[in-house]
Amino acid sequence: MNYAPHTEEDIAQMEAAVGIADVEELFADIPAKYRLAQLPDIPAPLSEQETIALLNGLSRKNILPHLTLTGAGAYHHFIPAVVGHIINRAEFYTAYTPYQAEISQGILQAIYEYQTMIAHLTGMEIANASMYDGASAMAEAAVLSAKTLNRSKIIIARSVHPEYRAVVRTYCWSNSYEVCEIPFNQTGQIDLDLLQKELAENVAAVLVQSPNFFGVIEDIAPLAEAVHSFGAMLVAAFTDGTALGILKPAGESGADFVVGEGQSFGNPLNYGGPYLGIFAAREKFLRRIPGRLVGATVDKNGRRGFVLTLQTREQHIRREKATSNICSNEALCALAAGVYLATLGKNLQKLAALNVQKTQYLKKQLLGIPGWKEVFTAPVYNEFAVSCPDARLVNEKLKKEGIVGAYELPKSYPELKNALLFCATEMVSKEDIDRVVDIVKGAL
């Protein structure tokens, strides 16, 4: 393919206008010895038909499961058809960042609405226009806390998603902040006593997740109290936003920042990306939070309109003094989330309740198998940990039947031997669950 529309004649005319005999002349600034004749080892061009055939072939080298029982930070939820129809509007997806507000009211208003929905959902006053993903949103909250308080220690619950912890560690290392992990107790929640012991005046933030990596709901309010008593920030994360359909938002329990992964809101699994980093905060951090913000204002005739605002926080104005370096974000994923949330509306509550029901059913059925035990005691949303005689074998069996099984917890928690983390969303039917149990029992 060739997407440049230039005809021979166009090129000749343009060369003449530029005063050159050949396009090659335009590259004279590049030292001759570094100029290539031809790119090495790039395959020959393809027609559109060949391109799609090639990609289709690659996509079919993947095995698409009949059923996915893994959550662990990425969730298989139903995406209403409207979402795709909207984000495929060329005016949305082929636009750049809305720097020119007057011809970008569409995305600006949609993002303003998204910010509002996220603030409501998380129980916070403000939310930004998106971050790269849940993990980097959490890391940014940690860095921001440290910078704001001028403190250098970050505490993170061990029950936070392992990859989130890894990302927080990377961001903190680059800023020379210390990171300290607090274990969970037998309920599956963060060990509050150990946290209390670790809290000190140099702690900038405590990072927790709820429901946490084990699906367990953390008790945020006492955590907030403990954290605030040392003047530190509480950063509360979530990985499956649908939980907010029924769970009390961390904002209501005193968190300073609520961050999370918005993939569940209308974004496909996509093998891990693009996803949607959610970042919500208390009003007082308005001028310090990373990422873009859309604000409402008026035009000279008093009509309401929307603009990117408080860009002084952003790197392209503040350069090295910016609070974050994020520039391109995940706007289209945020748009999808906005459409998703507007589609479900109050039905998000019903959806969350359905997730709980499926999960409880799955859990009950699995725990009915001899040798299977609950790992934690605290309440869960749509994920839960169970231990069983041979975790790997379970997944092997499921795999044979085209099912992506549970997340094997020993991978990141060697202390949790033979523990599996199962997830059941609305996409899993009773029939599926019964089949899974049969497969696991070896009955199939």
């Binding site: 393919m1 997407y3 230039h6 166009d10 343009m14 530029v18 396009v23 002349e25 335009l26 600034d29 030292p31 570094y34 080892d41 790039i42 395959p43 990609l55 996509s59 079919r60 993947n62 893994t70 209403p80 509007r89 060329a90 005016e91 949305f92 809305p98 720097y99 020119q100 007057e102 009211q105 569409g106 993002i111 910010q115 509002t116 290392w173 008790d219 769970l247 009390k248 496909p268 996509n270 093998y271 990306g273 693009p274 605002t309 408080l310 790197q315 104005i317 090295e320 994020i326 520039c327 391109s328 706007a331 507007a342 479900l344 509306g345 039905n347 019903k350 309740a353 029901q357 499926k358």
Partner: protein, 480 residues
């Protein structure tokens, strides 16, 4: 337009949830009431109203598919539809990131080949596809540099950044705890070599160079720059946002760069989505390979798999493996164009930029009058002085002619900057018509300046009060 909240009516709704097929349970029996929320404040609208709301919003947005979008530094080239279709294949969208490598051999092969292609195009030893955007890639790249020196046991505190650089460069450097020092440009828009020499010490970890720079100019003294940096043990970082200027023409790795971040959403034609998602792969030379983020793909006899087994890695910069779906589009692009197509694209992009430069030179100040690469930067100073018209007025007036304005007031070193990047996918007719509009506007600046100040005249809202927005921020709607 009304907000979706203003259209909400209690009792309405679009999405309907399937009835449960498992035993009904009382939620409070499994989750303590103290964990449950008491109200859920989301819009309640019917599907038809929802669709109309967002469809009409989309019509208040300008996209590349509507017309010319010469936003400098952003490489708003046409986003081929076949790439969209490829990325939407269920085999690509449907897989869980933890599905396990056996399920994902197609994805892994694609990512592995993509890394290889990028290595070949940019002359680097290895690539990571993990970063989610350009700035994220900068951050990852700078961390690798930090790690490199840490590993060597050298403490270097400073990095050099030209005054023309994009704001993310110093921000990314600062995020890694480096002190950033500004490097001056010379009078032909390149690196001021003497200044560079004076700044380059053994405390300097790296120079972050954009080449061609944000003036659209290629650094003629790149060999010398590279020598100066490397002689002092420093590393050379390339901001690859402008890579559309040299695909198939030259390779940063050959020019001496040790690390480069790309913007697939610019150079490799993936759509920008109104602000993202993008993708910011980072390529490194041999010296930095050990520090790449994990996980990395390794090829074994039974296929591809992910590995975290790289002890010197900077770790992860995000969860999972990168903006995979965006990478699919860029992969499709590279395969459709092939080596020749990529080179041709660059050639036409550069020809287009020079064509515009020549056509508009008589009407607008051109601070650096040299052959440019993929973009050219004018200054609106003449219009300020002679007509009291600012670059922003020119930009807003262009909207009335059906164009997205160029990037303005950037780079900061050009007063009243007008940064025009046409890209290769625009035809001569489009450029001619655009230049014609610019010329008319330059005349209007003299003859009817008020019209420019009132512009845009053709949009649903006229110029918006940005000062008010910043002074009394309203970033979240509240029921009144």
């Amino acid at each position: 337009m009304e907000l979706i909240f203003e259209k909400s009516r209690p009792g309405r709704g679009a999405g309907c949830i399937p009835a449960s097929d498992v035993a009904a349970i009382n939620i409070e029996a499994v989750i303590d009431r103290k964990y449950l929320r008491t109200e859920l404040d989301l819009p309640e609208v019917a599907e038809v109203d929802l669709i109309r709301h967002y469809t009409n919003l989309s019509r208040r947005n300008f996209g590349l598919d509507l017309g010319f979008y010469p936003l400098g530094s952003c490489t708003m080239k046409y986003n081929p539809k076949v790439n969209e279709n490829a990325a939407a294949l269920p085999g690509f969208t449907g897989l869980h990131p933890y599905a396990g490598d056996e399920w994902a051999q197609g994805n892994l092969q694609l990512m592995d080949e993509m890394q290889q292609y990028l290595c070949n195009i940019f002359g680097m030893a290895e690539f990571t596809l993990q970063p989610a955007a350009g700035a994220h890639g900068e951050f990852a790249g700078m961390m690798m540099i930090k790690k490199y020196f840490e590993k060597k046991g050298e403490k270097r505190h400073r990095i050099l950044i030209p005054d023309a650089a994009h704001g993310t460069n110093p921000a990314s450097g600062a995020l890694c705890g480096f002190e950033t020092v500004t490097l001056r440009s010379n009078n032909e828009g390149g690196v001021d070599i003497d200044h560079l020499k004076s700044l380059m010490t053994e405390d300097v970890a790296a120079l972050m160079l954009t080449n061609p720079n944000t003036l659209g100019l290629f650094e003629r003294n790149i060999e010398e720059v590279s020598r100066i940096i490397h002689e002092k043990g420093g590393l050379l970082y390339a901001d690859g946002a402008n890579a559309n200027a040299f695909l198939g023409i030259t390779r940063p790795g050959d020019l001496g760069f040790d690390v480069i971040q790309l913007n697939l959403h610019k150079t490799f034609s993936t759509p920008h989505g109104g602000g993202g998602p993008g993708s910011g792969p980072v390529g490194v030379g041999k010296v930095l390979v050990d520090y790449l983020p994990v996980p990395r793909i390794v090829k074994t006899d039974d296929g591809y798999r992910w590995s975290e087994d790289f002890p010197y890695s900077i770790g992860r910069v995000r969860a999972f493996y990168g903006n995979f779906n965006v990478i699919v589009k860029a992969y499709a692009y590279i395969r459709s164009l092939g080596a020749e197509g990529l080179k041709h694209a660059t050639q036409m992009a550069v020809l287009n930029a020079n064509y515009i430069k020549e056509k508009l030179k008589p009407y607008f100040d051109l601070p650096y009058d040299r052959v440019c690469m993929h973009e050219c930067v004018f200054s609106g100073s003449r219009q300020v002085e002679e007509n009291g018209i600012h670059t922003t007025d020119i930009a807003k007036r262009l909207i009335d002619f059906g164009y997205h304005p160029p990037t303005i007031y950037f780079p900061l070193i050009v007063p009243e900057a007008i940064m025009i990047e046409p890209t290769e996918t625009e035809s001569k007719e489009t450029l001619d018509a655009f230049c014609q509009a610019m010329i008319i506007i330059s005349r209007e600046a003299r003859e009817n300046p008020q019209r420019l100040k009132d512009a845009p005249l053709s949009t649903e809202v006229s110029r918006l009060d940005e000062v008010l927005a910043a002074r009394k921020p309203d970033v979240c709607w509240k029921k009144s």
